[in-house]
């Protein structure tokens, strides 16, 4: 029989009681917050009429006694793009549908302000200061068109992904809770529920409330009524902000330029997520070194379409044992099997989103005397002026045992920024003779 000291037993009992107490306190906290907040969180839906089936839905919460609510832009995007004026936005309060007016939105941060014709006694408190990492936070909303729910998780700080900022947390947000509030333990709103990482377990995000507060201030300060027919111009301006911010980072990045198998490349800002991979062929005849960077986030537009995304890939093909002719053939077959720009040029497209592509190919020489064969394809975004999709592919033409393939795509970039980006990146590519050539 195991002998246990009485002091140890007493310690265990005390610890057990404290734990139970803490658990109970947490449970109480959730319960209290729910009671305090749920009367300010509602479902927001888009439908043809109040009684018609929903086209889309999400959540929203009261931020002003005059009937202003915050939600996500993607919750009301169907209405923003409703050119035929077939749909309306409603806020459902106690089974009653209140038609809402869209007063403003920001696609970069995926937030929107709507207003209904109802006054409230109070509104939720918005708190710009973030909690400490590890603190408990709660998300409210109506998941899966069920009923109001409150879920809890941990606050893990703010993540920057280019121009996009997100609160990283672990509250299990589900569809339908988008647009609902994320609150701290005092019930102060620190974010707007926005998304979860697909395939993950409870990696979820909300928009830092600071961005929502700026939008709300802008809406309240605006004297003229917001006209939905100007939405496309507004979205276009916001998309330009995204790419200007991204371009600024790409062109002024001070991080150390990467060197891949002797090729010196342009700096990549730390906000981009990058991956690398080395593959050697079966008989160790050549190796392929991939370097891939992209923005994890993008701006949602409508109907599953996104913009403001960016991808960049460098692939170095290095010859190990092949003759130069054999290596040339390998390069050719790699290029031929690559998803070529020919596919993009020939692919079907939706005219309401973009025009058809115009492509061109040429050979250029950069200041380091590296020749590139570069192909570029542009398509205009139909709804937004001076914004384009850009796909490009460049391959170096140096004779030798190392080739660099550089390709990427921008979704939502202006003409001037395209030129600046391509010239900047191509000009910085050079080859280290000592490190690279055999």
């Amino acid at each position: 029989m195991i002998k246990v000291s009485p002091w140890v037993a007493l310690l265990c009992i005390v610890v057990g009681v404290i734990a139970l107490g803490a658990g109970s306190a947490l449970a109480d906290e959730g319960e209290l917050l729910y009671k305090k907040l749920h009367t300010f969180v509602f479902q927001i839906k888009t439908s043809k009429s109040a009684d018609a089936p929903k086209l889309s839905y999400g959540s929203g919460f009261v931020v002003n006694k005059e009937g202003y609510l915050l939600t996500n832009y993607h919750v009301i995007s169907s209405k923003v793009h409703d050119e035929d004026d077939n749909y309306k936005v409603y806020v459902v309060i106690d089974d009653k549908n209140y038609e809402a007016k869209i007063l403003g939105f920001n696609i970069i941060h995926d937030i929107a302000v709507v207003k209904i014709d109802k006054k409230f006694d109070r509104a939720l408190t918005l708190k710009r200061e973030a909690p400490a990492i590890g603190q408990e936070v709660y998300s409210l909303g109506l998941p899966q068109d069920l009923r109001m729910a409150i879920v809890s998780g941990t606050y893990n700080g703010v993540i920057s992904d280019g121009p996009y900022e997100r609160v990283f947390m672990t509250t299990p947000i589900n569809s339908g809770m988008s647009g609902g509030p994320t609150v701290n333990s005092r019930g102060e709103v620190i974010g707007v529920n926005v998304s979860h990482l697909i395939g993950s377990l409870n990696i979820t995000f909300s928009v830092p409330i600071g961005h929502a507060m700026l939008l709300l201030q802008e809406v309240l300060a605006r004297k003229e009524e917001f006209a939905l027919k100007n939405s496309y111009a507004l979205i276009g301006e916001q998309l330009k902000q995204i790419q200007n911010s991204l371009l600024k980072e790409l062109l002024t990045s001070k991080s150390t330029p990467p060197i891949v198998a002797g090729w010196m490349l342009a700096s990549v800002p730390e906000t981009l997520k990058c991956w690398g991979k080395n593959t050697t062929s079966k008989k160790k005849q050549y190796q392929a070194i991939d370097h891939f960077c992209h923005l994890k986030n993008a701006a949602y537009l409508e109907n599953g379409n996104y913009s403001g995304s960016f991808e960049l890939q460098y692939t170095v093909l290095e010859n190990l044992t092949l003759s130069s002719l054999q290596f040339y053939r390998k390069i050719s077959s790699v290029l031929a099997s690559d998803d070529g720009l020919e596919n993009i040029f020939l692919s079907l497209f939706d005219k309401t989103i973009q025009s058809k592509y115009a492509c061109d190919e040429m050979v250029i020489v950069n200041p380091h005397k590296i020749s590139f064969k570069i192909a570029t394809c542009f398509a205009a975004l139909t709804k937004y002026q001076d914004l384009y999709k850009l796909h490009f592919k460049a391959i170096t033409l140096n004779r030798g045992n190392s080739y660099l393939l550089f390709k990427g795509e921008f979704n939502g970039i202006s003409k001037e920024n395209s030129k600046r980006f391509l010239e900047h990146h191509l000009a910085r590519i050079s080859f280290d003779d000592d490190g690279g050539k055999r």
Binding site: K229, D360, A379, I395
Partner: protein
Amino acid sequence: MKFVLKLKLKDDPQFVFHQHWEKVRLTIGSSAKNDVVLDGGEIKDFQAEIVYDGSKFILRYLDSDGGSKILEGAREEFFIANYQLEFMPISSSEQETELLPLTTSAGGTLSSRSSGRGDLWYYLDPQEVSKVNLKYLASYVILILLLLLFNSYIDAALDSEGVRDLLVNFLSLSLIISLFTAATSLVLKVVCSRFQYFTILHHHMKVIVLFNLLIVFTSPLLFNINSNWGMFLVSSMLTLSFLLFTFYGYARLLFPRVMKWKLAAFISLLYSVVLVGINIYDAYDYEDKNYSLGFEAFLPLRAYSESQYPMSSLSSSIEEQIFDVIEYRNKIIEKKEKYANKNERIYP
């Protein structure tokens, strides 16, 4: 008047020649539709006419509308693809018609049979036919296999995969080329038996195939070395067949006495030389002022064939593309505004 048929066969064993004693009736091929019937000098069918000008018979073909229009000039070689024909009148007082021996340039023998109704049929011995065919067929096959072996060797030598893939390349290409050649032959054969114009080329099909082989044999030097061998060979043979078909046919039609097969072969060789010349010119390296070694010059990634521009030229290229896509966008918007109503959103 009685006639005797004197002819010199070349190498098409499928023809059957039917000689009537009383009428001159020339059957070309195996169909009675090709008959030419003379009855006391009057033409009773529409393929051609045979006219006796007092010293010899001239065979001329009629216009294709089936009328009685007579085309100028003696064009018997166009009408009858594989042989020359000469009719000889004989005195009506002679009791027997002397049958002249018929020979073929292919070296076979002819036999004759009587149908029992006063007609005489001439046949080329079927066994002779087989031997004749086999000789040509064997030479074609050997040529094709040599070509494929050569191409596969080049392919494998440049590839990193080795001898095993040489054999795989060789076998797969053999299959593709064999199928293609068989299909082309079948199509040509069917077409040739129906249309008068095509009989010209049926006769020269052998030459056309040889031209193709010549071009394709030199293809590793002429074109970029391409990993997609099968498609490259098939497409180049199709293109060349068509070009040579058209060129050769018209040339022979317009200049029958001038455009012999040797001339056509020379032109094809000239074509090959010109193509090689263009590629060598392309291979000139402007920077190093020399030519690249070996096949490197013909590879698709070569910079030497294209002008190189400074980085600033990229800007002009982008401007042009943007100009184009703005036009595409404007067209989309114009179409939309055409059907727009007052509620619809206007694109900026």
